[in-house]
Symmetry: C2
Subunit: 461 residues, 2 copies
């Protein structure tokens, strides 16, 4: 049932957007969920603006009538971020997919928020530069910024926090904010850029981003190493980081995850706790890095250390790593994945991973652990049978224990997936009541009517 | 004349702080200015808290009576940040100088805000780690965070924005905010850390910082190269950055600056536009970097390229570079320095530096240009005779032109010094009216009584 307010907004927006304001069932259903197992909720309509002016018109109309606006990129978020839990308008940035400018000499690209990371990297091919942030999914840059996303290369090139230099956004009150500059650093004004990065669409709609680019390294090599134990694998990574080796990627997969990708991606990896490494640099420097790391892995029970400079082999391995989410789902078709995403100081990583593994082993479920371990970030995935009460109870208990251990160790409830819906319950434990209240006051300062992605961060929790 | 409100606060704080609440003339005078040439203004009293609880008590008392609180580190700010333009309490963090914890295995240190960068680096000596941010002055970390400071190493290791992971602060409403975590990354909550970094004490008082540490590189080498022209020197730097060489430091000094340090620091450098380089890495990798850069300098009119791995020689050169501010002052004893601090995209750097040099040459003043040019950041310094109206008029015109050129090129009015007082006039030109208004609303959300460093950012401008 569409409310009177929503009906007024839909009426107003139709005159602006025409066929780009959609109320049909199938499009609304597509915008009712993300990749999480959380309950869907349909928006009243879906808007496909092309310009900042249209975004502003949508936000202003919704603010006037108190109707929710929920920004939507490609829907690859993992914690329910884009689910319009209070209905309203799902603002899909799909049509805002223009690469506005690439400035190779300044290592920046200026893009609309609907541009995806693969789209940008394809466009960059001729420049010798790359956009580094790589969350696996071919997400939109607006979505990646809004979730403060990262992925496999963050250990070397940083997360979206580090790679968004400036942006434009329409705040919840309809004002157009220009944040940051195209200079590499600035000491002027409050850091509105980083207020929007990670705000999960609760303060406004990002309409343009200036992102950093990095030179594609002259040489890339990769290595894969199986270990006797989970602890040995993780401790080898910790030692690598503490040695100061600037690894470009360093990913951990436990036995269950390796077996799953072997099956899904037709690989013949040894089923053991495994670390994938990637090194970037000049040919000589890449070789030196690999040599040091090989010595480190030997000290920690590395069973082999397969080094390769072959691009095809490397791409096949990384594709398999990226497909891990789907490989895990394929272990038990029809099951739901209950995912975790904690990040801890690196010195606490081994004990947190070992404890997470022990929890899974003591449960009735199959589960795996993979991680961007160079950052201290890892993901658990529990395979839950739909409707199985024991599974959901065990999963919730394990997830709570996982986060509690992380917070006790100075870590965070989410390294890269974000808060969305279900992790709202951890906000006060992590940040304290006073910081959460301050966030709510900041939300009200930029979104006085509370229309931006309501029921999420800055509102609930 | 102390207002009734300030008298009430002083009375209340004396009972909490005892002799650490000072109303004597000389201490108040010391807190009436920073290193800028701006008009001093005395606080009504100076408080020296030791703990977060005492900071909270001060802020609460001041909030209750509407009395300003102006955080003060070591007073090395350059744009009037710490001048209590509306009187009130200067909150000096000198007694909050405890290094709370050093965690070498996590590459972090947790410190009180009054800890200075040299104090921390001395304490780190045994660990093989360093705190990288290096603004020249032995500033307090609280002050460096509040001005989003940087310096010579930012090109490689980042600014305070990149190196502050988490903090604690007492907001203007007296609430104690805990921001960020000790994990390397997080996707939970609005980024309050980066809201306080660069806020210049206008939102609250930072009471604790968690900062990143970096491994002291196995090998360090430096190089110095004189060039035929300013443009050639800057273009060699641009080419070095665009090649992807991870230089640890790359500093430009023009002829006037070189002559000044020759005189002040008893050096015999060739009087020509000069670039200082520093390379960090393994011995082999450092050598490879220097070799590539040497080839680049030859292409751009480098007159020589003196490479050295000698630590004493290197330290002497960098000390001279750091003393450049005082060396410049010594050119004309008794004169004031009018400093500029713009930052532009690197592709625009050469033309901005050349234009700034031409402006100085066309004026009646002596002036110099030095810069953290790897970031696109450079400083102008004009030597003004006190009371000389022509000098102040010329300086203001040149400063305005400098900023206008930077903004037209997508740059910023300040790369690292901050807004303070005099640069408030550039805030709207850089950020636009709507972003400035949003900043004001955010300020009111955290400091509803407007007591935190009033007359500055978030209030005026």
């Amino acid at each position: 049932m569409v409310s009177e307010a929503a009906a007024s907004v839909i009426e107003a927006l139709k005159s602006i957007l025409g066929e780009r304001l959609v109320t049909g069932q199938s499009v609304r259903e597509h915008h009712a969920h993300d990749t999480s197992r959380l309950a869907p909720h349909m928006p009243d309509a879906v808007a496909f603006p092309k310009t900042e002016e249209e975004v502003q018109a949508i936000v202003k109309a919704c603010a006037e009538h108190g109707v929710p606006v929920v920004p939507f990129g490609v829907g690859s978020s993992m914690e329910g971020h884009t689910i319009p839990v209070k209905g309203g308008i799902s603002l899909d940035t799909r049509e805002m997919n223009q690469i506005i400018e690439i400035r190779p000499e300044d290592f920046i690209a200026i893009v609309q928020p609907g541009v995806t990371r693969k789209q940008l990297n394809n466009e960059l091919r001729a420049t010798g530069l790359m956009f580094s942030v790589d969350p696996g999914a071919d997400a939109s840059l607006g979505g990646m910024a809004s979730t403060r996303g990262s992925g496999t290369t963050a250990v070397r090139y940083g997360t979206m926090r580090d790679n968004v230099m400036a942006l434009r956004a329409v705040a919840g009150d309809g004002s157009v904010l220009k944040t940051g500059s195209q200079a590499k650093k600035s000491s002027t004004g409050y850091d509105l850029t980083h207020l929007f990065v990670g705000a999960e669409g609760t303060l406004g709609v990002i309409t343009e981003l200036t992102v950093k680019l990095h030179p594609i390294p002259e040489a890339i090599s990769s290595a894969i190493c199986a270990f006797e134990t989970v602890r040995g694998a993780v401790e080898a990574v910790i030692a690598t980081i503490q040695y100061g080796i600037p690894v470009a990627r360093v990913e951990f997969m436990d036995e269950v995850a390796i077996a799953a990708v072997n099956n899904y991606s037709k690989l013949g990896l040894k089923v053991a706790p495994t670390v994938f490494f990637e090194f970037h640099g000049t040919p000589a420097w890449v070789g030196e890095q690999a040599k040091i790391v090989e010595e480190i892995t030997r000290e920690y029970g590395g069973l082999d250390f397969n080094w390769s400079a072959d691009a095809d082999e490397r791409n096949r391995l990384w594709q398999a790593r990226h497909d891990s989410f789907w490989a895990t789902k394929a272990i038990k078709p029809g099951y739901d994945l209950y995912t975790g995403d904690i990040c801890v100081p690196i010195s606490k990583l081994a004990e947190n991973i070992v404890a997470a593994r022990e929890d899974i082993d003591a449960s009735s479920m199959t589960g795996q652990i993979i991680g961007h371990v160079g950052d201290g970030n890892f993901h658990t995935a529990y395979l839950m049978e739909p409707g199985n009460r024991q599974h959901i109870e065990e999963a919730e208990t394990m997830a709570k224990r996982l986060v509690e251990r992380a917070l006790a160790d100075g870590g965070t409830a989410s390294g890269e997936h974000g808060i969305g819906i279900e992790k709202l319950k951890f906000m006060r434990a992590e940040h304290g009541d006073e910081a959460v209240e301050a966030m709510k006051r900041i939300k009200r300062a930029l979104d006085p009517r509370g229309i931006m992605n309501p029921g999420k961060m800055g509102d609930k929790g």
